[in-house]
Amino acid sequence: MPGKLKAKIVAGRQLPVMDRASDLTDAFVEVKFGNTTFKTDVYPKSLNPQWNSEWFKFEVDDEDLQDEPLQITVLDHDTYSANDAIGKVYIDIDPLLSSEAATVISGWFPIYDTIHGIRGEINVLVKVDLFNDSNRFRQSSCGVKFFCTTSIPRCYRVVTVHGFVEELVVNEDPEYQWIDRIRTPRASNEARQRLISLMSGELQRKIGLKVLEMGGNAVVGYLQCFDLEGESGLVVRAIGTACTLDKLSSLPTAALPACNSPSRDMKEVPFSEDPNPNTHSSGPSTPLKNQTYSFSPSKSYSRQSSSSDTDLSLTPKTGMGSGGSVGKEGGPLKTLLRQQTQTALEQRGASSSRVFVRTMEFPFFTLTCFPPGFLVHVGGVVSARSVKLLDRIHNPDEPETRDAWWEEIRQEIKSHAKALGCHAVVGYSESTSICEEVCILSASGTAAILNSRFMQEGCLDSYSEHRLEEPSPPSCGFCHIPYDELNMPFPTHLTYCYNCRRQKVPDVLFTTIDLPVEAAITGKGCLIQARLCRLKKKAQGEANATAISNLLPFMEYELHTQLMNKLKLRGMNALFGLRIQISVGENMLVGLASATGVYLTALPSPGGIQIAGKTPSDIAYEQHISNMQKKINDTIAKNKELYEINPPKLFALDPEAFRGINTEIIEEAVGSPIPEPRQRSRLFRSHSESSDEVWELDLSHGKKDAFVLEIDDTDAVEDIHSLLTDAPPPVGFYSCNTEIMPGINNWTSALQMFTSVRVFRLSNVNMTNQGLNKIFNELCENLLKSLYFKLRSMAPCCLCHLNFVVAVPEEDLIQVAVTAVAMTFDKDQNQENWKPSTDKMLMKAISENEEQLQFPLELCTESPSSQPFSPSKGTGLQDGANVHNTSARASSQEKASPLPEGRSRSLRSTKSCSGSTVSVVKMTPLPFLPGTKIVKYLGIINMFFIRETTSLREEGGVSGFLHCFIAEVFSMVRAHVAALGGNAVVSYSMKECVFMENPNKNQAQCLINVSGDAVIFVRESELEAPTAPPHTSVAQNAGSGADGTT
């Protein structure tokens, strides 16, 4: 289905001088889309040309619209020789293809050259007319919305979560093609940029198709990655969560208030222990494969897309597939077919729901933050890694090996989740680390049991076998173990929930997700990192892969132990946002685990750390041991004070604690009120059958196993030292790698997103693992210290979403890149914040949330056999009250977000008074901006840049080069967002930063890939006036928050 793309080149400014003689430039512009190129006139002798071109019109398929970027090249006209390129701008027009996103792209774009960087700016206008709206979604996946945000986007409500979508496309890397030997670096870089842009577009379109097949209209938590496999090719892969979203009548106030203004404190969160040491897999393993029930009721389905799809596609193949090569004339027919199919399906569904009970191949969710009530129980972290040898991808159209590799990993993850008694994996992500021809594939997530009423039917195994007793309180329910305590997947140590005392919780819980909003916590959270280096002999091929495979389990185990010890050292009992990276280099492996530690009120207080020395020992040694023990105890005490961890004593007298496995708990217990025996016995009665076993478990996995550090060699001594060297952040600072800091709620509006990159060179003295570890540890600590120092003027503030990425770009080099956001908060209020909140309050908040989620009650039945609802039906089924609400909100929303042109004008009018034409664009890795409401999502930003220099010294060395490049990338992101009419990027991330240097040749090259969601936000204070009716609900939310906190 064709559309018309229109572009107009308005003007340029601050162009570089291209003609030395006149100190001026004769600039003209080429506008290219697909194979069509237009040119503007030459605007002679100016550095600020005013082209004011006609509208250049491209008539194109919407498939091309999705795949291709609009390519704008600025050149200097030269009568006697070839025209010199000044630079290029690539504009992704995808945001214009969705009716709900942007309608025009208009603004100043930096003109970018891969050798010279930014060279002036160009003002461009772009519009798209899609000819036939009714056919619009048929052949391409135009209209499917993409979000990087890993939670339900503000200002949408989720109707259905359909589940996991994945896709990958491969190609030869132009950098490694034969032609690269004869073309210029510029041409090579541009070929690469363009190819990746095309591949991303194609990938997004294909994912979009899958979403449509599943009946969804959006992908949330869209994560796209590049694997630069060198000789063997270039892989672009993406995963995401397909959903059906409904615009919340664009009423900002209705959007998940709890997440939006992170204003609750007390959370009770139970988690489960990480089964990591067991999950490592190396080489090909054949996990049990779930038999996919593939159902093709209609002939209309034809899979002709040349994607990486295998038969493993998780999508129910009932919808209408539209392969890339289906003829255009098939469009209307297919539409018709689809409608018929749907009707047929609906009928069949009504008669026998059996048809729909399909097990999703991978019940994975890339979301990390969920609507209240979505997470029922959380089992713990599941992860899998696999080492592969790369070989050339012979046929890019059949990238089966890469698909098979990922499938293998996913199957393994799935089986781990099963072992934890869970039917789903949330907070799921995938990553790779490549060195020469070896590739480590990693995936991790959090095993969980989800509330099926949020799912499309058949999306998950029904979990009816799970006890559906009275619902657990929201503040602790998710902590309750999902697995069978008689048959636990890993040794852990269960107690009754310290919050509700009705169900069992583990002693420690590790997860990859964000802290659920409703969770009750004590005190504040903090960033916890485990860091590890392991030397590896240089090797080739199989031998190398085997060596790496052999090292991996040890690294995972050690990282896990470090995390556990550091967690205990802080007096905390749960980790959120856990991310373990293992990067491979020629002669070493580097592991970095980051997470946010927190004290879940529902979980038992962690024991201390006890040091045990060698058994036969002298007095001096004993003394040494006891000194160390004292140091550790002091640190724990200090940390508890620092993070304000004073769990309510009332619950400290858990029966198990009482028996005194852990002396610390006993100490705490002393002096606290004696528990009411009646209540306890009642608890026992209600769950009597399991109490004895728990008891036995405790005995068998008592303190000795779990918490004792044996110092029987120097390594262990080092380990303890390194434990104690982690300095707490300076006064006024907090840090976490989750979206928001557990325990801080009153964010103020100041915000600073930043990226910091460091590369360290290890000189080749004989390095030991110990020495390496120490260096790596210091390196990370120093980097954190630098960040605190840099941002000191913002204190009190919190570094949120601290995302560390480690790499070993060359032998003896370690690269660490950090992206995070510093946010200020109001310290005074904060003091009061985590006072005990009542479940009642939480329940109230949750029920409010649920109302706002507007789940039609009829569709919320717990029974897995209830009739599934199609998205269209879902919206149709809204009850009257909701519809009423919606329309009321819609009208007020109109005012809040006027038409795009008007909006962009108004945005521009708020600019600085100094006559600047540059509007401020905020960037944050978080899905929200404190004190604001996101009123519109304008589309995904996904940009890839290459920068190269052959005059490294002149550009200020490697630091000068990269500093400038990162600043350029930021500016290009901001410019694109501003041109879409936006004023912020949320869920921003730098997914790739590959830096290579050759100082001897005075050369360096860097590749950066960034992504995020372009949005329009309005300050809550500005919202008040125009949206009076909704405002009351804001006030209520704020009010209830305040009630709870004071």
């Binding site: 400014r13 600073q752 990226t755 590369v759 000189s763 100094s914 034409t917 630091s959 000068g960 600043a967």
Partner: protein
């Protein structure tokens, strides 16, 4: 042996972070290591629990940022419209204002000199003499030169032109106007006898000259209106000579002034004795201003011919003011003196300048 070295270390904020203190070190031409040293002594470390490495890293990073911004600071209007750095407007203003700020010790050395390559070559001497780093001297010199070049060919008021092109505060723009004016007319300011005068003294005088003696004082839409002195006016000044060449006029003038001052000043007798010399001094200066050479010597002449004699007679500033007022006004009463307008235009400026310059 160092087992690890930092190969690369960058920090980039979406909003560009700039520390004003470090900016000043950079502007002052400190090396990174000197700046680190000073910062360490300043106690910022204890305050933030940081280490020397952290300071080093931060300082390097900031220096790099400033270097990248420097190109933009050369045309400050670009700073507001560039896309590379997101800097809030008030920070932009700070960056510009500080970049164009100069040391009074430096400007005194360069004031009135031709802003040429030759002068730039001598900057190491200036650096040695003033204790200001060569780097900083160069920046300040280049700023002078850049502003000079831009406004040289513009129409309209000098101060306004400087303000619109360089986005400087009113005060700083006026100082630059003075610098440009002095450089253009090459006023001598470096002689030993003028050493006691500060830049601000000269800047004040420049302001007076610009608003009263230039072409712009009569016509505000010509090129160089505020930079070139009004030639016609300078020509007219020759007419004032009658006040000293005509014996009657000179005597009348003297008696009028003496009558007015009698009993009102302690240096009356000295004034009376010196009146003719002083008047000759002032009027000869006026009469010679058609020669470019003599324009350059305006200030040295004022000091030698007028200020020094009065100072040796121990006139107070009040004495000086009283004298100049009556000296100027009395000329109006002289019936045969027809050049009142020229006289006022001349004396108004001379009076203000002398009063400003009359100090230790």
């Amino acid at each position: 042996m160092e087992i690890m070295s930092v190969e690369l270390d960058v920090f980039v904020g979406n909003t560009t972070i700039m520390d004003e203190e470090v900016y000043q070190f950079w502007l002052d031409g400190y090396t990174v290591s000197d700046a680190v040293k000073v910062r360490m002594e300043g106690g910022v470390l204890e305050e933030c629990e940081a280490s020397a490495e952290v300071l080093q890293s931060d300082t390097m990073d900031q220096y790099r940022t400033f270097q990248m911004c420097e190109r933009l600071l050369h045309t400050p209007a670009k700073l507001a419209n560039q896309l590379l750095f997101q800097i809030p407007p008030h920070r932009q203003a700070m960056l510009i204002e500080r970049y164009y700020a100069f040391d009074s010790a430096f400007v005194r050395e360069v004031l009135g000199k031709k802003l040429s390559k030759g002068t730039k070559k001598d900057l190491d001497d200036v650096s040695l003499k003033t204790g200001i780093t060569l780097k900083s001297c160069r920046r300040q010199f280049d700023n002078f030169k850049r502003v000079f070049k831009v406004v040289e060919e513009l129409k309209g008021p000098l101060v306004e032109n400087i303000q619109t092109h360089f986005l400087l505060s009113d005060k700083l723009a006026r100082d630059y106007a003075a610098i440009v004016f002095f450089a253009n007319n090459r006023f001598e300011t470096g002689k030993r006898k003028l050493q006691y005068l500060s830049f601000q003294d000269f800047a004040f005088c420049a302001g007076q000259l610009i608003s009263n003696w230039t072409v712009g004082a009569v016509d505000n839409m010509v090129e160089d209106m505020d930079v070139d002195l009004d030639k016609e006016f300078l020509q007219d000044l020759k007419d004032l000579k009658i006040l000293i060449t005509d014996k009657d006029l000179l005597d009348q003038h003297k008696s009028l002034v003496c009558t007015a001052l009698r009993g009102k000043t302690k240096v009356y007798s000295e004034m009376e004795a010196n009146f003719k010399n002083l008047s000759r001094g002032l009027i000869n200066i006026a009469a010679k201003l058609t020669n470019t050479k003599d324009v350059r010597d305006l200030f040295i002449d004022l000091v030698e011919k007028f200020i020094e004699p009065c100072r040796s007679d121990r006139w107070t500033a009040a004495d000086m003011k009283l004298f100049l007022i009556h000296y100027t006004n009395s000329a109006h009463i002289l019936d045969t003196f027809k050049h009142q307008v020229t006289w006022d235009r001349y004396m108004g400026v001379i009076k203000s300048c002398i009063l400003k310059m009359y100090h230790d």
